[in-house]
């Protein structure tokens, strides 16, 4: 296993992706962009799974399976989220999240 990229590099990348996602989720007002940020967060987790699987338990595939499940769930989630976004657009004529603040006191 010599000459490969060390684990820290994966973790740094995934951490960067995670916080980019969080940042995007909290600052972007566009719902589609927020959805993309969530995908970033999920993918950072996937990287962690795969990386840890590779470095800690190279004989197992559990981490890979988890990544696959996360991808599948993310796909379903994206489908549902986009459906919701389309409905929001129909109701508010906008996908700006600040305009969707009916659910308050």
């Amino acid at each position: 296993m010599t000459g490969t990229i060390p684990l820290q590099y994966f973790l740094i990348i995934s951490t960067l992706m995670f916080f980019t996602g969080i940042y995007g989720f909290l600052t972007r007002r566009n719902l589609i962009t927020m959805l993309m940020s969530i995908e970033l967060i999920l993918n950072s987790v996937n990287i962690n799974f795969v990386a840890f699987n590779r470095f800690l338990y190279p004989d197992n595939l559990h981490g890979h399976f988890f990544s696959l499940i996360v991808i599948a769930v993310a796909a379903a989630e994206a489908a549902v989220a986009i459906a919701i976004i389309i409905n929001i657009y129909r109701n508010f004529r906008s996908i700006d999240v600040d305009k969707v603040d009916e659910m308050k006191f």
Binding site: I22, F25, T27, V97, D98, V100, D101, E102, K104, F105
Partner: protein, 638 residues
């Protein structure tokens, strides 16, 4: 033990009818509700007569006197090992007698109402309430224990309230129904206190145990005393207070005249024949206890009854509303029954008063229901309650006229009609017990004849009144019950009550005491003659007589200002001294505390409601910050 379990059906049939017509009545033709109710009562009447015939005659139960038997009983509430509340059916001479009274009158009133209430709004509601009343009254009569009686006692109060307020759009009817309910409720408070005292002392609610000569109640004669009377005497006086309220005894009678606001068949059923005699029935039910351990309580019963009968008879002579005259007459006659129980001893010929009171209850139910139903037929024809609007009706209402005359003769005690026999027995019992009470009752007998014939002549003879439209005789549904009840009023006097309904269940010999019967008939005839002279033709005599009595007449006309006294006591004294402080405390302290809690919560929620902004990203910030804080705590501090 002969099986009488089927008697359970007697109260349950009206209950089923009540539930059915009450829940499904508005979906049916009102006439169907009426017919269902009447059919149900017909079945009850058949069962009641069957029971009476079996109990008194065919089953030969009187070997050692008619004994009380429980046809059915289940435990309802288990309070302690010894004290349970049961529900069941008790058969003994007085309950079987009451079955006959209640079912007969109720059935007659059902038939009569089919005609009387025809086309009325709320026809189905009326029959529903009648069924509820029949159920409650039959349950009361058949109660095996004093608590069951109390439950049904309240139920008849509710039915009476509902039926008095039947015309709930009329303010006077609403006021009358509330008055009846509140006054009897107040009396029932005494009843409840009495029940609690009695059951505390005897550890039982059961009537059979209570009245048994070796039972626990009989051991209480020498118990703790209060103000010179033993505790059990007080308990029985309190119980009598409940009975006095229901039976409109002075001074708790004020609700009965106002209760005449209800439809006339209701007055006949509830306020003449059945519910108002519940007080008499209650005293009769506990009679052995009264008689053996609390003779003082029995004196109270006798004097309250005697004074009420005199008081009501005087007022009845001055009233002009025909239903109110009958209401005061009812009060007066119930006074007779109470007095009869009050002067009675226990066992054998000493129990004459007990027998006479129940006998009078029976005959009174027949002739007073007849009078009320007759009054209903008259009101139906004339559309007025006031006897000054009437006169010369005998030509227009022949059947009503004859039956009304029979009832008047009966209540006046003319032989051989039933009222003569029962009233005579009461007078004999009073004569043997107490001279003042006998004189009161003797005078009341004359007054009764006088005011009944004043009523009779004013309605059917007297001045020739011009009516807007010719009065017409009532339909057959109304006249047939009149004829049946007239039959009962004439012949029920021949029932051998001294063999059937006696204080100890054993028959005794009863004779007509001519020394008392002849004067009592003569004073009745005297009353009739005076009334004939005064009211047969329109004369100036009544006005002069009224003037001659002066302020006494005015007092009687205003019912001795009893209503005003009550209003003074309740409005001026109770409202100002009790209700107002209580209301102030409730409004300012109790409500204030609750309002304070509400206000604190409202203010604090106002402060924090901004947190719920509806903005997802704000929630996101809070979530992420919270998570980071938790991570820092867990990783670096803990």
């Amino acid at each position: 033990m002969i099986d009488y379990t089927y008697t359970l059906l007697i109260p349950l049939i009206p209950l089923a009818v009540f539930l059915f017509t009450g829940l499904a009545g508005h979906k049916m033709n009102p006439k169907v509700s009426g017919l269902i109710g009447t059919t149900g009562l017909f079945a009850v009447t058949i069962l009641s007569y069957l029971t009476a015939i079996r109990y008194f005659w065919t089953d030969h139960l009187h070997g050692s006197g008619y004994q009380a038997m429980k046809a059915f009983e289940i435990e309802w509430l288990h309070l302690t090992e010894k004290l349970t509340i049961n529900l069941g059916v008790l058969l003994d001479p007085i309950s079987v007698m009451m079955l006959i009274v209640v079912s007969t009158v109720s059935f007659m009133v059902h038939i009569y109402s089919l005609g009387y209430m025809k086309g009325e709004r709320g026809f189905a509601r009326f029959f529903t309430f009648l069924s509820l009343f029949s159920f409650s009254m039959l349950g009361l009569v058949l109660a095996t224990n004093i608590f069951q009686m109390y439950i049904f006692w309240e139920l008849v109060g509710v039915s009476s309230f509902l039926l008095i307020g039947f015309y709930y759009e009329k303010p006077s009817a609403v006021a009358a129904s509330k008055k009846a309910f509140i006054v009897t409720r107040f009396a029932d408070l005494g009843f409840l206190i009495g029940i609690l005292m009695l059951s505390f002392m005897t550890d039982t609610f059961d009537f059979r145990t209570l009245v048994s000569p070796t039972g626990p109640a009989m051991l209480q004669a020498g118990s703790a005393t209060f103000m010179g009377l033993s505790a059990i005497t007080w308990a029985l006086i309190f119980i009598f207070m409940g009975g006095a309220g229901k039976s409109a005894m002075f001074p708790l009678h004020i609700w009965l005249p106002d209760a005449m606001e209800g439809p006339t068949p209701v007055s006949a059923l509830i306020h003449a024949a059945t519910m108002v005699v519940a007080g008499v029935y209650l005293v009769a039910r506990l009679f052995p206890v009264y008689s053996m351990v609390a003779p003082d309580a029995l004196h109270v019963v006798a004097w309250v009854g005697g004074l009420s009968s005199l008081f009501a008879a005087i007022i009845a002579c001055t009233q002009t509303d025909i239903k109110r005259v009958l209401a005061y007459s009812t009060m007066s006659q119930i006074g007779y029954m109470m007095l009869a129980l009050g002067v009675s001893g226990y066992g054998g010929h000493d129990g004459l008063g007990f027998m006479a009171g129940n006998f009078h209850l029976f005959t009174h139910a027949m002739f007073k229901a007849l009078l009320f139903l007759g009054a209903g037929a008259i009101i139906h024809a004339v559309h007025s309650n006031d006897m000054r609007d009437m006169g010369g009706l005998r030509k227009y209402l022949p059947i009503t006229h004859i039956t009304f005359l029979i009832a008047c003769l009966t209540i006046a005690g003319i032989p051989p009609l039933s009222g003569f026999f029962s009233k005579d027995e009461i007078l004999v019992a009073a004569y043997h017990h107490s001279m003042p009470l006998f004189i009161i009752e003797f005078a009341v007998a004359g007054l009764t004849a006088f005011y009944m014939f004043r009523l009779y002549y004013s309605i059917f003879w007297g001045k020739h009144t011009h009516y807007h439209h010719t009065p017409h005789e009532a339909p057959a549904t109304m006249t047939i019950p009149l004829m049946i009840l007239a039959f009962g009023a004439v012949f029920s006097g021949f029932l051998p009550f001294h063999e059937l309904v006696t204080s100890d269940g054993l028959p005794f010999e009863a004779h007509i005491n001519y020394g008392i019967a002849i004067p009592s008939v003569l004073i009745g005839v005297l009353g009739i003659v005076v009334a004939t002279l005064m009211y047969r033709k329109e004369t100036a005599v009544p006005a002069k007589m009224a003037g001659g009595f002066g302020s006494f007449y005015t007092w009687a006309y205003h019912k001795f200002y009893m209503d005003e006294v009550y209003l003074f006591v309740t409005k001026k004294i109770l409202f100002n001294l009790v209700s107002r402080p209580v209301a102030w405390f409730d409004r300012h302290i109790v409500d204030g505390f609750m309002n304070l809690i509400a206000r604190v919560i409202e203010k604090s929620s106002y402060l924090i409601k901004g947190l719920q902004s509806g903005r997802i990203q704000q929630y996101g910030y809070v979530f992420v910050t919270g998570t980071i804080v938790l991570v820092i705590i867990f990783v670096f501090i803990l």
